[in-house]
Every structure is written in C-alpha cells, then in structure tokens.
Symmetry: C2
Subunit: 507 residues, 2 copies
C-alpha cells in the first residue's frame, strides 16, 4: 500500500510526521504509517495540476472515457483487498461495502459515457447575419470548458462513492478538470488503494502527469491550504455543516473567490398523513426502521424527523417501530468523533423538557451505538431550534401534531433539506399537494410513499438543496448535472474553424 | 411621474428625506423629489415578494409571456417621454438611447418567448424499473423551479438594458421569481417611468401583487438591507468591482448565504498580431476608436488595453488612432462620480514612469472628458499592477511588446475578463491559437478580428467570465442561459401525476 502522498506520478513524503487510520471497532490504530501532506506538497500538487489541465482539457473524449473506465475496472480488480480494508476502516458490513462499490463503479462508467458524448459541452451556435442592419450580426459559438483544478474532500460515510473516485472526483475529471483529493483521515488505506488505481489508470491511458493527486493529512490545516491556494479553481466537499461552511467561507474570502460546493447536513423530514398511517402502519414502520438504521444511520439522507398526527394509528406505528428497532443490533460508528457527536446530539435533545426518548435500553455495548427514536409534541418542537438539528447516526425524532394545520406549520419551520418525504393515500392528495408546495421551497428531492435513503445515480436525480443542505441550491452533487459545478461557458465570436480547438467536436 | 417607491401595487413614501436625479451635463439636480426607501419599505417589498412568489411561480406560461410582452410594449409606448428623460439623466445621445431601447425590448421579448417554451425547466424523467434487483428503481422526474425573490441593482451605464426592465429583472421574472429593483441614483426618473410600466403590465395581465417592486435610495444603505434580508433568495448586480464585491461578501456572510451574481470590471484586452496590423492598420484603428469612445467609453466591454508588437506598423496604427481620436468631441460622463474616478484613474497611470499619454490636448471643456490613449512598454506594464486596472470611460492603454513571446506573457498576466480579442491574418493562426489557449482561461468571450463592444442577446452569448469580471464564471448575465442564475433543480420521486403541479407542462 502506498503510504506517501501521490502527486501526479510521483510519491512524496516530506513530512517527518506520521498519521494512522483507525479500526473503529477496536479503536486501535491500523499498522500503516501514512505521510501527511506539507504545504510544499500542496504547492507541488497544484503546480502539476495547472500544467496538466492545459493538456487534459483537450484530451480526446474517447481517450478520457478509457481513463475513467480503467478506474472502475481497477477498483473492481482490487477485489477483497479493497473490500476488507473498507470494512476495517469503517465498521461497515461486507454487504454494505459491496453495494457501495457497485454504485461507485456504475457512477464512474456513467461519467465515462457522458464524457464520450460531449453533451455536457452544451455547444450552441448562432450563425452570422452579415446583412443585418444597421450592423451585421456576428457568428457566436458557445461551449462549456473545464473551470480548472478541483479540490475534493473525501466524505467519512462513503469511502468510495463520495471519496477518492467518488462523484465529485469523477464528474470533475469528466469535465476536463484535474483533481486533488484530500483523503479522509478515517480511511487513509482505502484512499491509498483507490488513489493508486487512479494513478495507474491515468498512466496506462496516457493522461498528463498531475491530472490526479492524493494528499493525506490533518483535515483543517491541509484543507485550508488547498482551498486558499491561488491555483485552485473550485472545491467539492461532503461532510458536516461546520466543516463545509468553514471551507465555503474560506473560498469566498479569497482575493479571487472560488465556488465551494459543500453538501452538508439535512434532517430529511418525513410527513405521515393520517389515513396512510392507519392503512399501512406496519409497512411504513418497516421502511422507516430500515432507512433510519441502514449503515448505522450514517447517510446524509437518513430520515431524521417523522411528522405525524397524534392519534391511535400513529401510536401503533411508533410501537411497530420500537419493536423493530429493538431487534437491530448495536453498531460501530465510522469513527470516534461521530460516536461522540451522536452522544452530544442526544444530550441536547434530552435537555429539552417533554421529549420522550424511546430508547432501546438493552445492555449498552462499549463503543457501539444503538438506535434511538424520540417523540415530541409539535408545540415543543417548534419552540426548540436545537430539536431541528441533524444528529448523524441511527436516530429519528417523531414530531406529533394536533392537526394538519400544525403539520404545515412544522413544514414551514424547516431549514433547507436534501430531501423531504410525504406518505399519503389517494384521498389525502389535497393535503399532500399543500405540503408539496411548501416542501418545493425547502428540499432538492421530494419522495412520495418511500424513504429518502437510496440516491439513484441518474440524470433526473437532485442531490442538493437550499442551505444548509448545500452551499448552492442551483447544483446537484449526484447525477448527470453534477458536472456543471466544474464548467464555465465560453463564447467564440467570428472564430475561423482553424482556430477552434479540434477537440471541441463541433456540430 | 411616480416619485414614491413602488411596492407591488402600492406607492409608498415613508421617509421624510428626498433625493434627486442630476443632469450630468449641467451638474444641476432635476426637479422631481424622489422618496428614498426606508428599512420598513424594504421589509414591505420582500414580504409582498414572498407571498407573490407562491402564486407567480405557478402562473401559466402563456400568461407570463403576456406580462413580459406588455412590459416591452409599455416601454415603447412611453415614446419620447422616456427617451428624453434618459438623455437628460445620462448625457447619452438620442441615437444611443434608441439603440438601447430597441435592444432592451428585443431582450424582453426573447425571455417572453423562452417563458412560453418552458425549455428552461430542463425537465427530464428517468422512468421506474419495478423489476430491478435487488431493489426496484424509482421514477425520477426533475425540473428547474424559481429560486425565490431576486434583488436587482440597476447599472449606471445601461439605464434600460441592465436596469429596471433589463436582463437581470426579465430573466428572473421569466424564471418565476419576483423582483425588487434598487433604482440607480443617477436615473431615478428613468427608473420611475419603466417601473410604472412594469406595475401596469403586471396588473393588466393578472400577476400577483408584489411580483415587482422598485425602491429608490442611497445605494449602500438600502442595498445592504436588501441583500441581508432573510427573504431574499438571490441578487443580480452590474457595476463596479468595489460595489459588486461588497454585495457578494454580504451575501456570503449571511447566516443562510445566497448567490450574488455581480458583473463587474474588465479591461477587455485586444491582441494585435503584427501582420494583421501591417495589413489593416486603418481599418483596425477605426474599429478600435469607435469601440473605445462609443457612449464615452462607458461600456463594460470597452477595450481597455491594446497589446501589439512595437514596430513601424504599430506606430502607424497609433497615429491613425490619434488622428481619429482628435476628432471625437469631449463627452459628458454619466455622473460626477464616474468623471472623478476617470480622472483619478488617469492620475494613477500618470504616476507610473515611462507611460506616455497620447492625450488629445484640445482646450479642456468643463465637466467633459476627452478620450485618452496611452502607451507603455510591456516590461513596465508587467511590473505595474495599477496599469492593469479598468478605467471606466474613453481610455485605452497600448502595451508594446518586444516579440510574440512577451505578448503571451502579457496574456498570462491578465486577470479574469468579460472578453478578449485577437486580430490576426491567416498566416498568424499558430500564434492566434496559442493566445486563444491562454485567453480561454481568462475570458468569457473571445472575439476574432472584431471589437468586444456590442453584446448580442443570443443563446450563444456569454457575458461573464472569471473573477473579477464576475463573481461566478459559471453563469452569463446576457442571453438565454442568464435565467439559470435564478433556478434550482427539484426531483420528484415516485410522484403520482395528480400531485405534480399542473403548470409544469410535462412531457
């Protein structure tokens, strides 16, 4: 395993320090000593990135498709080595890791396919009108071009899909941007394995040196240097609100501001209309329990609040859920930090009077978390902003409303969300329509009679939403249009064909 | 003429203060006393905007087209009243005003047409695959929706095309966003006339109260309140780097940041390759002199630096230009502030040793500006960042290079630009290609053998560029895609048809 920083086709370990990944199950460090990136190494990576950009952005699309496909192949070829390392660094089950690997490789191949089609260039041409009076109309040819070197911060909860070769990296590479990945300190080994795959894929398909780099290190310090570097053109981040906002602020405070797209927190509210609860309590309970506890609730789309009318059917639903949650074993969280934040979050909730924690008080297992379902009256919820915050992990808060009107009040009180969900029968369409009208203002994706977890990698996916879900609701982090974050339009006016770069594949 | 603030369908003048527009020719205030907006009036406009947004975003596209078309008709119907007022408030000639009016109305009708076609919604649908294993694939329907109330800051130099009913306002209205215009203090009367047209057009076509408001006032104070208001969703600004950056910073420092698209400064470099200069000196001189002095150089796309090889042909070109510039009469600038900034800018240039001011030293006319052409060796230019700054007005700096290699060095030294221009013969394509490669990184539009002034309102136009030309190079302020600044995608997952708002005009 490469423990150095990967800077283009070079390995570098200038620092005298060493950092280690941890096994979250045991809390013990893993044996490999990784070299954290120094300021000099940040410079080296960006100098290489800018040089490679000037070649890479013109690389033939067929060639680029080969590069991206080789990354997907390489990840699959790592086989058990990669799967085991991820399990070791995340505490995830093998099944969970295999699903993520499949999704990651499908995502890479989708961008490889997009790259080959060039539709993302959105080429348009308004032809000249030489006879127009009083002045002739020029020929205008417009197309998207790569914005420049992109920094990607790997996510803690998706060591593959939102990390080294995840959506941010691959969409940026497909756009023609070189990428520098800041490895997540929780899975340095996973990062090293995947980064090596990308380096080899780039070499094998003739990509320029510097099109990809991978840096290890202390998140805050190295991250700041990367965002503030004058050659950095854009940033992609998936993580906490605190971390994302800090990077967003840095990016905007630069002398030359750059776009920082951060995908951050979300409580993903689920609205449960009463007839639907009465009709389907058992089914809804089973869907929600799965969605709340899958991967120990460590999804950005985990349903964090469940909004229902307080009646007999809802009481039954909560009992079904309790019963099912009791059978879920305690889980190891991704890292110590996440475990502590989960406990701190629960303490804040417990400090609010009249919140009932329907805690599954089995014998507590050391270093493990068991799922928690809490309930609160909507009046209390509306009066306590601390109950509106995301708690990352297997927790959800059931908010009990007097009536539909209070349910709308809860909807109106929401901050920006990645998703919102409505459960309703055919008879409840009027209320569902009113809720939809409110939720369109709040969320990037609205789900009907389903759960928010499970983000399909499709053209029509929106994985984004108003702040604080993301820093810019006009973009998505998943699916075809995620590439738009790394593109800017350029118009060529009256350009002779001989002068237009041949790789633009026009008309 | 309405001298109050227009807040939806109400007129309001809560302030005890009065503000006046000025005749820039005489420096005297014009008679009408306008009421500056108070903080309370800012609140009123935004409260109305948010309520109207919830109706307006669902307005049938045919109806919205009628609204926008009625604005264009209304502006034309103002006839001489409007034309004379603009001339009075700007010092522009009648011919200049008529061109801008034509362009503004064409722009409004283009967005009316886009609105009726709904292509900006970019609706896509990935259909469900219920049989997919291990889990069924849901139906995903994605479309763009209006981001919310938009604040538009009117520009000083385009009282129509980038102001009250200019590109920012109309693209936001076409997107389904209510608009609050902050009138430019230099043309309060022009704003009042056009704002009244919009108010009447909105009423006549059944638009909700609050879809449009117009506020007068002290730019800094009122502007800050508008950008910081919690109901504001986005901001459009055209003006100085200082003003744009201040609003951009405010927008990002909010608890909930919002996108501030500011179109700011640009020096619009023109690269003159030697064979082309030898062949076409006279023609190039005439094009450049027109472009530098049109509207007293008060265009954001005015060519502010001319980069050439120092040889006999360039000397001839500069002599042609001098001769032509000498015949251009002195001009009244848009306002006192711009006149002073022009003089201050020239003082900074004069303070650099070895800059030659080829000033047309006719007898100076009070309150008027005559065109200035300066020359400097590229060595001096490269060493003095103050020479790289935009001077708004009829000024251009000829940068004289030793050779083509130094010309590339000058290109590489440039900041972000709205435009860059190359003049070359067929024999000079290799050098032109190398320059293009550099300029793609710097500018939103690259012009071949032409001038940067004259921004066609077409789908393929890019009026934008890397900072400091704009605050976000991924968008354009002119043309079809300007609407993207005010849109965000929303995905509906497994939504029954009955629940999808009927105005979405799907499939």
């Amino acid at each position: 395993m490469i423990t150095e920083n990967i800077i283009g086709y070079e390995l570098s370990s200038l620092s005298s320090k060493q950092i280690f990944a941890f096994d979250p199950g045991s809390g013990e460090p893993l044996p490999e000593a990784f070299s954290p990136a120094t300021g000099e190494e940040v410079d080296m990576a960006l100098e290489k990135a800018i040089v490679s950009w000037r070649i890479y952005r013109h690389i033939d699309s067929v060639q680029k498709t080969l590069f991206l496909s080789a990354i997907a192949d390489g990840i699959e070829n790592l086989g058990d080595t990669l799967v085991k390392r991820i399990m070791q660094e995340t505490g995830y089950t093998q099944a969970r890791v295999l699903v993520e690997r499949k999704r990651t490789c499908a995502q890479i191949r989708m961008y490889a396919d997009i790259g080959s089609k060039n539709t993302w260039k959105e080429i348009t041409n308004d032809e000249a009108q030489p006879q127009r009076a009083p002045s002739p109309r020029p020929d205008l040819l417009k197309m998207n071009v790569a914005i420049g070197p992109v920094i990607v911060f790997a996510a803690s909860n998706f060591p593959l899909a939102y990390s080294t070769a995840g959506g941010d990296t691959i969409s940026a590479l497909a756009a023609g941007c070189p990428v520098i990945v800041k490895a997540h300190e929780s899975h340095l080994g996973t990062n090293a394995l995947v980064a090596e795959v990308i380096m080899h894929a780039a070499k094998a398909t003739g990509m320029p040196d510097g099109v990809f780099s991978s840096l290890n290190g202390n998140r805050i310090e190295t991250g700041q240097q990367l965002v503030m570097h004058p050659l950095t053109a854009a940033v992609g981040f998936t993580g906490s609100l605190k971390g994302g906002r800090a990077l967003f602020d840095l990016g905007n405070q630069r002398e030359k501001p750059i776009p920082v797209f951060a995908e951050m927190g979300s409580v993903n509210p689920v609205f449960l209309l009463p007839e639907k609860v009465t009709a389907d309590a058992k089914k809804i309970s089973s869907m929600l329990v799965d969605s709340i506890t899958n991967s120990a609730g460590q999804f950005c789309t985990k349903p964090g609040i469940l909004v229902a009318i307080w009646n007999e059917a809802t009481r039954e639903l909560s009992e079904f859920m309790m019963e099912a949650l009791a059978k879920i074993p305690s889980s190891t969280m991704l890292n110590e930090n996440i475990t502590q934040n989960f406990e701190r979050g629960l303490d804040l909730v417990k400090a609010v009077p009249k919140v009932t924690l329907m805690d599954i008080q089995l014998s507590p297992v050391e270093k493990k978390i068991h799922p928690v379902l809490a309930t609160v009256d909507a009046d209390i919820y509306l009066a306590h902003p601390q109950l509106h915050q995301e708690i990352f992990g297997p927790y959800s808060l059931m908010v009990l409303c007097r009536d539909l009107s209070q349910m709308k009040e809860v909807a109106n009180s929401l901050e920006g969300q990645l998703t919102a969900t409505i459960h309703a029968t055919e008879n409840e369409m009027d209320m569902a329509r009113e809720l939809t009208e409110i939720l369109i203002e709040k969320a990037g994706r609205i789900i009907f009679n389903g759960v928010p977890t499970g983000v399909e990698v499709m053209e029509s996916m929106t994985h984004g939403g108003p702040y604080p879900a993301t820093t810019d609701s006009r973009f998505t982090a998943v699916g075809y249009h995620a590439i738009r974050r790394w593109l800017r339009p350029v118009t060529f006016q009256n350009f002779p064909n001989a002068l237009i770069p041949s790789d633009f594949n026009l008309k």
